[in-house]
């Protein structure tokens, strides 16, 4: 089934970023990213300036997709955690609430055990926010149009053409 479009409002972004900031501190990690399965960055925290976040999001989603393909091949529902160990930096990647991917970038200041522990707690909070986002999307579907929907419904072919000028 085609997943519904993901709609992130300011309140969602604020809440998710707060969860990620807490995780980043608690897990003593360098940076934390929340990505959707299609490879879009949803939120991040920590030292993200040194990382190409768009590429990271796309490659992580590809990685998760390939891993879930492997799981199915072997009769597993999914492999929900991936760990990549580098010389200095390491990545802990886990699935959250079926559509999210939580990525923790950490170094020797932290440990895999600590990251795993903190990721577990943060995942519960993210599941909660996602559930509320899904409930809201359902409510909205039954209601009238939001300001954005009205705004977007009014775009014309010229607006789209203008994107390609210059």
């Amino acid at each position: 089934m085609r997943e519904p479009d993901l709609r992130l409002y300011e309140e969602d972004a604020r809440r998710l970023t707060a969860v990620l900031q807490k995780l980043c501190e608690d897990a003593k990690s360098r940076a934390v990213f929340l990505i959707d399965k299609a490879g879009q960055l949803i939120a991040s925290a920590g030292d993200t300036a040194s990382v190409d976040t768009t590429s990271l999001a796309s490659l992580t989603a590809g990685n998760i997709a390939a891993t879930s393909g492997l799981a199915q091949l072997l009769g597993e529902k999914e492999f929900s955690v991936l760990f990549h160990e580098g010389e200095k930096d390491h990545l802990h990647i886990s699935l959250v609430a079926r559509r999210g991917i939580l990525v923790v970038l950490f170094d020797a200041r932290s440990s895999l055990g600590l990251v795993r522990l903190r990721v577990k707690r943060a995942s519960e909070d993210i599941v909660q926010v996602f559930a509320e986002m899904a409930a809201r999307a359902e409510r909205e579907a039954g209601q009238g149009k939001t300001a954005f929907q009205t705004q977007f419904a009014e775009i014309t072919d010229d607006d789209i053409d203008n994107l390609f000028k210059g």
Partner: protein
């Protein structure tokens, strides 16, 4: 599955270039990458073999500009065209908002084109998706080659529904942006319809 980020005022869409091996999917992305302003594109990532055949995917993030205050971002992906990479193709199709089928115009590649198009329909069906129900366009690539079959023949074999199609020569860039624009338009119109 588009991603609308109200907080950052961004619309993110995923476009997939599909087609048989060596039809020019990666070449399309490479040309776009060389032509767009540095500020509007990210890195071009190619997960390829040592002989530069796509192993998993190519990825190019592109910022097209703003519509009514919303930044529109397109994530362009290619699939590996070679027949035996089917598992990877299925993964990359997931969450696609639109598909560009790149057909190789050379007469000896006609069978591969048809096979690849059928493969696309099968892979979408596995995800309960239908080609008819999603933004889809065709690019007839390699029009400059002497053994290219006439467009009418390609249309007859690959485009029974007469979806938008573009002639191209991806290596020199002819038709590359026209194709991208055609697909982006359909995707944005679809998004408009859904809202």
């Amino acid at each position: 599955m588009s991603f609308i980020n109200y907080a950052a005022r961004e619309i993110n869409c995923k476009l997939v270039y599909y087609g048989p091996g060596l039809c020019g999917k990666t070449t399309n992305l490479q040309f776009i990458y060389t032509k767009v302003e540095p500020g509007t594109k990210g890195k071009l990532i190619s997960l390829a073999t040592e002989t530069e055949r796509t192993l998993f995917f190519d990825f190019l993030p592109l910022e097209l500009g703003s519509i009514r205050g919303f930044k529109t971002r397109f994530h362009l992906y290619t699939v590996p065209g070679q027949v035996f990479y089917d598992a990877s193709r299925k993964l990359i199709l997931r969450g696609a908002d639109g598909v560009i089928f790149v057909a190789d115009s050379q007469v000896e590649r006609m069978e591969s084109n048809i096979e690849s198009l059928e493969n696309l329909e099968d892979n979408l069906a596995e995800q309960s998706m239908k080609l008819e129900a999603m933004p889809f366009i065709l690019q007839y690539n390699k029009r400059d080659l002497p053994n290219a079959v006439p467009v009418e023949e390609l249309q007859g074999a690959l485009n029974p529904r007469n979806v938008p199609w573009f002639e191209a020569c991806a290596a020199t860039g002819v038709g590359v942006f026209e194709t991208l624009k055609g697909a982006a338009k359909l995707v944005l119109n679809e998004l408009k319809k859904k809202t």
